[in-house]
């Protein structure tokens, strides 16, 4: 199965090249994909924890999110 391709335009000559990625480039992208997915998962976890803490605080204060927004405005 061929590797993905990239498109390259030379701004001086206007020559367009369609270049198949090398195996090394594909491997590098796969590493980047894994790292990016891990970073995104970490962000989602942090956001979920923050949402949970916010909900807990609102419950302890006995106010709704809209009422909190009104207080902070």
């Amino acid at each position: 199965m061929p590797n993905p391709t990239r498109v390259e335009i030379n701004c001086e000559t206007k020559e367009e090249l369609i270049i198949e990625l090398t195996d090394a480039e594909v491997a590098e992208l796969e590493e980047a994909r894994v790292a990016a997915e891990a970073a995104e998962a970490e962000k989602e976890t942090a956001a979920a924890l923050k949402a949970e803490a916010k909900a807990g605080l609102l419950a302890r204060l006995g106010i709704t999110a809209e009422e909190a927004e009104l207080l902070l405005s």
Partner: protein, 168 residues
């Protein structure tokens, strides 16, 4: 009348997807660069990545986003740069993105700003403003637009237009 906003080159994925679009040999004869993209991703990822001069050095970006029901702001350090149109958004719709890079051929670190918006016939779509920094004093001679998450591609008919802006 002098030309102050000129198309340098355009690139397209054409009728099939491609991993990235690259502009090479960017001349140093302009003051600023303006890169406009009409694009979509071939996966459900959300972001373009951008590289300058082929370097994998990451850029720092401060961004704010709105989706109609809320806003958020983040500092990104990496290759997440601008929102695109994920493949699970409304079919045949493309995000509109603009990068503006002032003094791209100068000898100082390179700043850029981003405006991007996608469209979705659903409860969520995003608009974004961001400013970024590439800590490198070399003149920009190459710009690569891709998607950081693996070999996931830019979708078919993704187009990019690189303009040169002169201050006189």
């Amino acid at each position: 009348m002098a030309t102050t906003f000129e198309l340098i080159a355009s690139a397209t994925t054409g009728g099939s997807s491609a991993n990235s679009l690259s502009f090479t040999g960017i001349p140093a004869s302009y003051t600023d660069l303006c890169l406009k993209i009409s694009g979509r991703l071939a996966s459900n990822d959300n972001y373009y990545s951008i590289k300058f001069n082929g370097a994998s050095t990451t850029v720092g970006v401060r961004t704010i986003r709105g989706n109609g029901s809320g806003t958020d702001s983040e500092n990104w350090s990496g290759n997440y740069i601008a929102i695109s149109e994920p493949n699970n958004y409304t079919a045949n719709v493309y995000a509109s993105t603009e990068f503006y890079i002032p003094n791209y051929a100068g000898s100082t670190n390179k700043v850029f700003n981003v405006k991007s918006v996608n469209e979705n016939n659903s409860t969520s779509a995003f608009c974004q403003l961001a400013s970024g920094l590439w800590s490198n004093t070399a003149a920009i001679t190459q710009i690569d637009i891709g998607n950081i998450t693996g070999a996931s591609d830019l979708a078919a008919y993704t187009n990019a237009y690189l303009y040169g802006v002169k201050n006189a």
